[in-house]
């Protein structure tokens, strides 16, 4: 039972003591990403022991590269999911942007940097379109972005065939400025004897920025509120529409970045790039502690989810297992994560 205290005095004198009462360990265990951290450590240890090449410099570089591309998308998708929405067009977007830049430069001789800027603007426009449709009509984002996913998939394949007569765009290395672009998006940086792809640093940077946004800016507060209880966010004066549209533009921009990272890495873009990966981003986010219903999650968790995926993806290859185990493993992880997350919501959300 709450005691009636003298207004002011009592509360102020005990303020500091009360704040300190939550033990740091308890505080840590309350974080949404803790489950993913434990799982990542376990998988890391397992493959390090079970396979010879997992810990080799080349091995580390390989799984970190895989993780980084999924991680960038997973972090953006996690922010959107915390805001209560999905984006199924995020995977296809990584292909669309790469294909656009490829077609603009190799087919029509457009300046590389201008082509990249144009592709970014187109991606942002698609993101804004997704967001606008969801906000204006109230149609679930799952359906809206499923629509844009198929549109992009169709355009990627048909458009590429139409322009090049093939199902891929090649010859990027001949485009003026490609080497400069590669320095930013496709280079390799040696760290402690491991030749890390530059995408790993993009991944770390984006995770850091996203975490900071979510936890230390008003936008973060708004995102959690919108996903947690939309009506309350409206009532307290949060700019709900702007924030939600911004989140869709965020995943589209992340799609562009990943598109550029793969484009400059291999100098070729397949028309099928990114298709089928949209669910992997969502799985990474959920494994990292995001609730499918929104309002809860973390960017670091999503990055860890992607790390887990990257490690398993390459670890299975190193262990020379049948690649199909990956899918089964992924499904199991997802179910486990959903069950853990459910208990989180039970504890915190629903109490009369």
């Amino acid at each position: 039972m709450t005691m009636l205290t003298t207004p002011g005095a009592a509360a102020e004198s005990t303020a500091d003591e009360r704040l300190a009462r939550t033990h740091p360990v308890v505080r840590l265990l309350r974080r949404p990403e803790i489950g993913a951290l434990v799982a990542a450590l376990a998988i890391f240890v397992y493959f390090s022991v079970a396979t010879a090449s997992f810990l080799s410099p080349a091995g580390v570089a390989t799984w970190l590269y895989s993780a980084s591309l999924f991680g960038i998308m997973a972090v953006a998708v996690a922010m959107l999911m915390i805001g209560g929405e999905f984006d199924l067009s995020a995977g296809a977007m990584t292909g669309t942007t790469g294909l656009l830049v490829g077609a603009f430069t190799t087919q029509w001789g457009m300046n590389l940097w201008f082509a990249m800027l144009l592709a970014l603007l187109i991606a942002l426009a698609v993101g804004a379109f997704n967001g606008f449709l969801v906000v204006k009509t109230g149609i679930p984002s799952f359906i809206v972005t499923l629509g844009t996913f198929f549109i992009l998939q169709g355009l990627n394949l048909a458009g590429t065939k139409l322009v090049t007569g093939q199902v891929a765009i090649q010859g990027m290395t001949l485009v003026p400025g490609f080497e400069a672009g590669k320095a930013i998006f496709g280079s390799t940086i040696p760290v402690l004897g491991v030749n890390l792809k530059v995408s790993v640093f993009w991944w770390l940077g984006i995770t850091a920025v996203a975490s900071w946004m979510l936890l230390r800016t008003r936008y973060g507060n708004w995102i959690f509120a919108i996903g947690g209880q939309l009506q309350s966010a409206v009532q307290t004066g949060v700019p709900v529409k702007r924030t939600r549209i911004g989140l869709f533009m965020g995943t589209a921009a992340a799609g562009w970045l990943v598109g550029m990272l793969s484009l400059f890495d291999v100098a070729t873009v397949q028309a099928t790039t990114g298709i089928g990966q949209e669910f992997i981003y969502i799985i990474c986010a959920v494994v990292g502690g995001c609730l499918l219903t929104g309002g809860y999650g973390s960017a670091i968790g999503a990055a860890l989810g992607a790390l887990i995926y990257g490690m398993i993806l390459q670890g299975i290859v190193f262990a020379q297992w049948d690649n199909n185990w990956l899918k089964a493993f992924l499904g199991g992880m997802l179910l486990l994560a959903v069950l853990v997350n459910l208990s989180v919501r039970r504890q915190a959300g629903v109490r009369a």
């Binding site: 303020a15 009360r18 704040l19 009462r21 939550t22 505080r27 708004w222 959300g349 629903v350």
Partner: protein
């Protein structure tokens, strides 16, 4: 601030002969009442009595059709909730406008976060907001161990109280509480009533909308009883007993006959 039980404070918010018509339905007619600093006005009535309509007029959700609303003695017309809010009239609705999964302090400052820095580089003043939340809740007598716990883990009464404390902190002079105790158990309702008293003692005008005379009577200074959109009168606490208040609300004679009917069956 003194906790004088101010019986005759200068009214902050006053309505005179107010009426509200929705199409051909007269939802409210000729209501006059007022609330001053450090005063609790209870608006009582059964379902459909017009409590919600009066609340919506005061909160600026629906402007009144006739009569006048006075703020500090000057006639005003609230054409939107924002205008009422800017005038210092805050409404705590039943759903409380909280986000259950978010920490208490983030809920407290939701939509009005304190931040430092410019544009996209501005960051939240986390420590300050935590401290303010704790202090403000302490002022209301809400004893929280940790302002970082999700607000959904608080009891219903505590959540209600956080919403009240939030309204007060953000400059409310009059707080309108929409059925704050109706969904609560006896103990929790008691908690909320205590915070209503705390708000009053801090010099706020409180409009307490309820259908429960047992919750209204202990904390109210004056009681406005509504029935079918009209006033059955406004009473000072000294001028009425709780039994009279209950009878009045239930329609007096109607309740007597119901009691007899139930007794026999």
């Amino acid at each position: 601030m003194s906790a004088a039980g101010a019986t005759q404070a200068a009214p902050i918010l006053e309505v005179r002969g107010i009426g509200k018509v929705y199409g051909s339905v007269i939802a409210l007619s000729d209501i006059s009442t007022s609330v001053g600093a450090g005063e609790v006005l209870c608006v009582l009535g059964d379902n459909g009595a017009g409590k919600s309509t009066l609340l919506k007029v005061l909160a600026g959700v629906h402007p009144h059709s006739s009569g006048e609303v006075l703020l500090d003695g000057a006639a005003v017309r609230f054409t939107g909730p924002r205008l009422a809010l800017d005038a210092g009239i805050a409404t705590v609705y039943q759903d409380l406008a909280i986000v259950p999964l978010m920490p208490v302090w983030r809920n407290f400052f939701l939509g009005a976060e304190l931040s430092a820095g410019i544009g996209p580089f501005s960051r939240l003043k986390v420590a300050e907001m935590r401290a303010i939340t704790l202090a403000q809740l302490g002022r209301m007598g809400i004893d929280l161990r940790d302002v970082d716990q999700p607000i959904g883990t608080l009891s219903g009464g505590e959540r209600q109280s956080v919403a009240i404390a939030r309204a007060i902190y953000f400059g409310a002079r009059v707080v309108i509480l929409d059925e704050p105790t109706s969904a609560l158990g006896v103990k929790q309702a008691g908690v909320v009533l205590r915070y209503v008293a705390q708000a009053r003692d801090h010099g706020l005008g409180v409009v307490f909308v309820t259908h429960n005379p047992h919750h209204a009577y202990p904390v109210g200074d004056r009681f406005l009883v509504l029935n079918r959109g009209a006033s059955l009168g406004e009473f000072d606490r000294k001028g009425i007993t709780i039994d009279e208040l209950t009878r009045l609300m239930a329609g007096g004679a109607e309740l007597d006959s119901l009691a007899r009917e139930l007794e026999r069956s």
